[in-house]
Amino acid sequence: MAIKTEPLVVNIGPQHPSTHGVFRMRVTLDGELITDAEMVIGYLHRSMEKLAEERTWTQNIPFTDRMDYLAAMTGNFAYCITVEKLAGIEVPERAEYLRVIFAELQRIASHAMANGTFVNDCGAWQTPLFYMFREREKILDLFEMTCGARLTLNYMRIGGVAFDIPDEFLPQLQLLVDELPDRFDEYDQLLVDNEILLMRSRDIGIISAEDAMNASLSGPMLRGSGVAWDVRKGDPYGVYDRFDFEIPVGHTGDCFDRFMVRMAEVRQSLSIIKQAMEQLPPGNHCAEVPLNFRPPEGEIYCRIESPKGELGYYLISDGSPFPFRFHVRSPSLINLSALKEMVVGQTVADAIVTLGSIDINVGEVDR
């Protein structure tokens, strides 16, 4: 004897505390079990790719801040490196190292944010989030010290970085690098040994290595599934081939693996920063690039490893001061595309945890 029940269609978002912005998930529920899910994006679409065609190559850098606003530095980095490759501009050594330091700092900040909100989605009453904010705050202080901005940095320029670091930067960074491992050990104790967190995140939102590769996922999503792939190793850009670091790889591809991969990546980033600080050469921080420079005609795709995954820029130049085409391969969007497969058959609570473990940034999803 079956009891007649009706499916319940619930809109999770666009205004929901756990959708990390204005992402909307239309789920069909049987009780609390998700039988169907539909992703609705576009609430934060600002038409950046089109707007960029009306602005000069240099003027487009602030747009890249506002895509993944939690990792503005890597957005800058990816765009600048693409344009430099297109125009064949040599970047001074010092600028390359500064870029690595700042990109890795940004990765730590972004991963701290991602893990904090992830545990928050698991229901911890914001405590881990505030702890992670504390570390992120120190990194943002360093950013502010250097370029005056904290969130939308607009720090990198085509041919280098906008400013050289101030004198007090390196000692402060040293303090931070010495302090952060202890802090993250503490979070390991707090979170990784927490039975409830394990119950909530293990074997939840599993995506297998094959599926992850077929869905073209990248970043911690891909590595959590057990695929050792990192653009910094596989297709080194900048001076990344000079550093010695490891790729953390998960086992089953569940939410917990993605969480742990991020935790481990923070430590790897710290080790890269340490090496970069030791090797930091003196010299000029930016190559001479004319303000209205015109790259030669041509098209290019270049990618970097952003905190969220593979961030690529596809640019076409027609020889004018404006890009003819400005396309972004945003990791958030492509990682998000796997969400439906991961959440169908789970409960609402699991879906929220899964979404949190993907670490999307709606600014980058919608652009």
């Binding site: 319940l8 928050n120 409830i196 967190l197 293990r202 596989g234 790729i247 998960g250 409960t347 929220i352």
Partner: protein, 414 residues
Amino acid sequence: MSLLANWYDFRDLGNPVARLIEALQDAGLSGGWIYAISGLLGAIGILSFVGVAAVINIWIERRLIGRIQVRRGPNRVGPFGLLQPVADAIKLIQKEALQPDNADGIMFTLAPIVIFIPAILAFSVLPWGEHMVLADLNVGVLFLLALSSTTTIIIFMAGYASNNKYAILGSMRVIAMLISYELPVVLALLGVVLFAGTMSLTGIVSFQETYWSWLIFFQPLAFLIFLLGSTAELNRTPADIAEAESEIVAGFHIEYSGMKFGLFYAVELVNTVAVSAIIASLFFGGWWTYGLEEFIPGWILFIGKIYSIYFIFIWFRGTLPRFRVDQLMAFAWKVLLPLALINAMMVALEIFIWTEYEISAGIVLPIFAVVNFALAGVLIVGFGRVMSRTMERFPKLPRLVKDIDVPLPEPSTA
């Protein structure tokens, strides 16, 4: 002038009231009037405590959570931010009380008001001092359980009346959860009631006074079960699945705004104090503190105990993530319920031994204490082993790979 004879004895606020009643009797008032007046005095006392507690608790909770979360918490309004709750209340009162279009108007308005009734009634049976109890029911413990079971319906009323899918989800969760958690809580209290041999809270406190020992020393397992079970019944982290901010936004009170929301917020705090008070009187001797109540008024000690236990709830809230619904149910049915049953059976056995062989309490009670603590330890460790057998206790950390192990794609040049 018997009114003035002992009125200043504030160690037990029952004393001044008793003097007053004597004076009224001398004045020739009939029993009914005196009954009504003394009841009114008690009600005023309890209501003023509840009102002050609800306001102060907002501040305490926010400050403590702030400390736990390495921030300061409210510190702007008044000294140490003490007036923050007042500011909150002013803000809530002047907000528009929105009501969804298709909401069930009467139920929607009634729910936040009615939900206060069980919360306040719970205080009426608590003994604040030897003579300081408003209604010394001899079924006090059962009365408290009955009150907690009615809260379910009222929360469901709120969720159903809101006509919101999140609210319905939340209220169905509440019902499922409260039904599951009522059983272990009742069985845990059964252990206490069996041990003390009475269901009256005054009786339980005086039992602890007679045998010169808090009941937690005899009933550690019941204490733990009650603490965890009541965390769930109170809808607090880690069992706040009914409100589950990150999942179903605010659950049953998602559509409430203004002071109606404020009432739900306040009643949660009042309920937490009520449960802390129940724990304090059942397991920690209530007003009785090994003779200390001779020097410090018992009700102040009692309030101290209430807030010590309240601190545990705040601590839970500040540190723990939330269970999933099914995990929470599994915890109730697979862990708490068997433990509570074993505990109740153990107590029955002990009481049987005690009464049947007429052993003096001085010999038998320390043995019971040791046995019960050992039992609690064995059971908790054993259940932990059994429950976590399916799960590796320590998770596999990510392996660190030196190099990529996927085929390198074509070089990305134009």
